[in-house]
């Protein structure tokens, strides 16, 4: 192709624009591919987004199944209520937008039209936590777990990676309740291989330990696993649980860990109030466990802005940070 002056675009491999996001965030493919697999299995799936099809990778699904894709434009609340209406007709709608807008802006629509109405809508809140770095607080979601957890009749899932998201989506075909999926930005390293075992409400124990057990969810499972490896290598008895389902919480897993370990450390990309830490606290306080709880995450503040990896380092939410937090606790 001969490039003319006005039509020419950038040519350097380092340059990129929005529609090329998928190439830069390979984790974005899991959502579309998992939905496509449901379609292939004969499920009446429909997907929708609110002007973010490249951010969440649904463009890939839309290209494949244009008749099963609805573009809602920048009207998230309309999208959620419409998804509920769609669900009344026997269709299984999946709607996705940034977790800040889904989990906060649409909170009342989720309660009224989805959860209270008991309709099997699947909500995908992506770029949760502080994954949007210097986009700032409007695009951060460090409250969504607390909010979604307070809504009766809603399953709340925070997969650790793309393969687990895919497994959860597959499992959702038989799940009667509406579901809030909280996911990252598609650039997280994988914890699991393709389509790992997944059961709603059944935590995954990676390691057991007597000194301390980390209970982590979502994007924090991978760095926690790295940290646990290093800690164990240096002789500390540290366990790790992937608490992918925040609600219903796997009480037994929490109590078993609290029986075994002196300390439970929750690690979440979320406010330490009301989210995973809050859910675990409720179980522990009611059971009167001997173990004490320490909550690690965003300490009830608005995150600074910076590129995501800088923020993870700053808030000790990367492997090194989590390792330091544990060492300081056990020191």
């Amino acid at each position: 192709m001969t490039a003319t002056n006005t039509l020419a675009g950038p040519v350097n491999p380092g340059s990129w624009q929005y529609r090329q996001l998928n190439a830069r965030a390979p984790g974005l493919s899991y959502l579309s591919d998992a939905l496509s697999a449901l379609v292939e299995d004969g499920h009446p799936v429909m997907a929708g987004t609110a002007d973010l099809q490249y951010s969440n990778g649904l463009a890939r699904f839309a290209a494949r199944y244009p008749d099963r894709f609805i573009q809602f434009g920048i009207s998230e609340q309309n999208m959620v209520s419409a998804a509920a209406g769609i669900a009344t007709t026997g269709v299984m709608p999946f709607v996705a937008t940034f977790a800040s807008f889904l989990g906060l802006l649409c909170c009342e629509q989720i309660r009224m039209d989805v959860a209270y109405s008991a309709l099997p809508v699947r909500l995908i809140g992506h770029h949760a936590g502080i994954a949007l770095g210097f986009y700032g607080t409007s695009h951060h979601a460090t409250e969504d777990l607390a909010i979604m957890r307070s809504i009766a009749g809603l399953t709340v899932v925070n997969p650790a990676d793309g393969p687990q998201l895919a497994a959860a989506i597959k499992a959702s075909a038989d799940h009667p309740e509406p579901i809030y999926f909280r996911i990252g930005r598609g650039q997280e390293p994988n914890v699991y291989d393709d389509l790992p075992d997944f059961r709603f409400g059944k935590a995954i124990e990676h390691e057991t330990g007597t000194d301390l057990t980390i209970i982590a969810c979502g994007t924090m499972v991978h760095p926690s696993r790295e940290a646990v490896r290093a800690l164990r290598a240096s002789g500390l008895s540290v366990g790790l649980i992937d608490m992918h389902t925040i609600k219903p919480l796997d009480r037994d897993a929490v109590l078993a860990a609290a029986e075994r370990s002196r300390i439970i450390l929750t690690v979440e990309e979320h406010n330490i109030l009301g989210g995973l830490g809050g859910a675990v606290a409720e179980v522990m306080a009611e059971a009167g466990t001997k173990a004490v709880l320490i909550r690690h995450g965003i300490r009830d503040e608005y995150s600074l802005i910076a590129p995501p990896t800088h923020l993870y380092r700053h808030y000790q939410l990367d492997a090194a940070g989590i390792e330091t937090v544990v060492r300081d606790i056990l020191a």
Binding site: A82, G85, I86
Partner: protein, 317 residues
């Protein structure tokens, strides 16, 4: 269905100088028998509303009275429904943005055999499914739950989209309050419905002129309302919302027009409290309670009798 032509523009009972447009005088007009039946059903809505609110001891009288003819026309003329089959997949859908008027809908759903009529007698009592706002998980025949004003048009649009994907053709009617026009989500849904060419979506605005805190124009003006809907890509029809003949004619035409690619908005000019004189004149009856004697007078007025002596015992409030 046999049709009868109406001779000329129906008189406007609201006396506001409006006349019905020729659209409402088209061939597909209801018979006098149908008209009488619909009027009787509207009266039934009002009477049942009074009866049920007496159980709850508080309720939305005037909001329900303003849409009694709309309820009657939709449920006994416009909508495709099957007796005793509230979940028939091809049924027309009805959603209420103004869910607080559900007390007037329940008797019609019972009438359609969607649930036993006896349930009405336990309206709002512990364990009964019938509350001030409709709950689709509890009440057969309620197509969507509501109570938070502003969601219904979105949900209705969703039904259109879902029906489209499932290859079903049904019409979706969404009744909205005029105060509801102030909720932004209504306009999100309006824009999206036009964009999606949801020709089988019909919004009905109960333009009764009042909301909770007073006159809509004073609380938060919404005019020019028809221009708003038109600018959002809708086909707009204005109609006298208490004239069952005009309503039936309009809804029949809308149903027959299968070529419409725009969603249709029906602005129904109504009186809030229609049927009970003092309610038509006092915004406060959006919510309230009538002690038995006042209730009797209201019933008498609705039954077409001059309001009884009870009303004349003392000063007006």
């Amino acid at each position: 269905m046999p049709t009868t032509a109406i001779a000329g523009p129906a008189p406007d009972p609201m006396g506001a100088g409006r006349t019905l447009t020729p659209e409402f005088l088209a061939p597909e007009t209801p018979t006098p028998e149908t008209i009488a039946h619909l009027e009787e059903r509207a009266r039934h809505v009002r009477l049942e509303t009074i009866r049920l609110i007496a159980i709850a001891k508080v309720g939305h009288y005037s909001s329900t009275f303003s849409c009694a003819e709309l309820f009657a026309t939709l449920y006994y003329d416009a909508m495709r429904l099957r007796h005793g089959e509230p979940r028939w997949p091809d049924r027309d859908r009805f959603l209420m943005g103004k869910g607080h008027a559900a007390v007037g809908l329940y008797p019609l759903l019972a009438d359609w055999g969607f649930f036993p009529k006896e349930l009405l007698d336990g309206y709002t009592r512990l364990g009964n499914p019938l509350g001030d706002h409709p709950d689709m998980t509890k009440v057969p025949g309620v197509d969507f739950s509501s109570g938070s004003i502003g969601h219904a048009l979105s949900a209705g649009l969703g039904m259109v989209m879902g029906g489209r994907m499932m290859g079903r053709r049904f019409d979706v009617y969404v009744m909205l309050g005029d105060g509801e026009m102030q909720e932004g989500q209504v306009w999100e849904a309006a824009m999206a419905a036009a964009h999606q060419k949801a020709g089988n979506l019909i919004a009905i605005v109960d333009r009764n002129g009042y909301q909770l805190d007073g006159q809509v124009d004073e609380v938060m003006g919404i005019e020019p309302l028809a221009d708003k809907w038109r600018a959002f890509g809708w086909e707009v029809h204005e109609v006298d919302g208490h004239d069952v003949a005009a309503l039936a004619t309009l809804f029949r035409r809308l149903k027959q027009d299968k070529t419409r690619r725009k969603p249709a908005c029906v602005i129904a000019r109504t009186l809030k409290g229609k049927g009970v004189g003092y309610m038509e004149r006092e915004a406060g009856w959006h919510l309230g309670y009538l002690a038995p004697e006042d209730e009797a007078a209201a019933i008498a007025e609705i039954m077409g009798q001059p309001a009884g002596s009870a009303i004349l015992q003392g000063d007006a409030q």
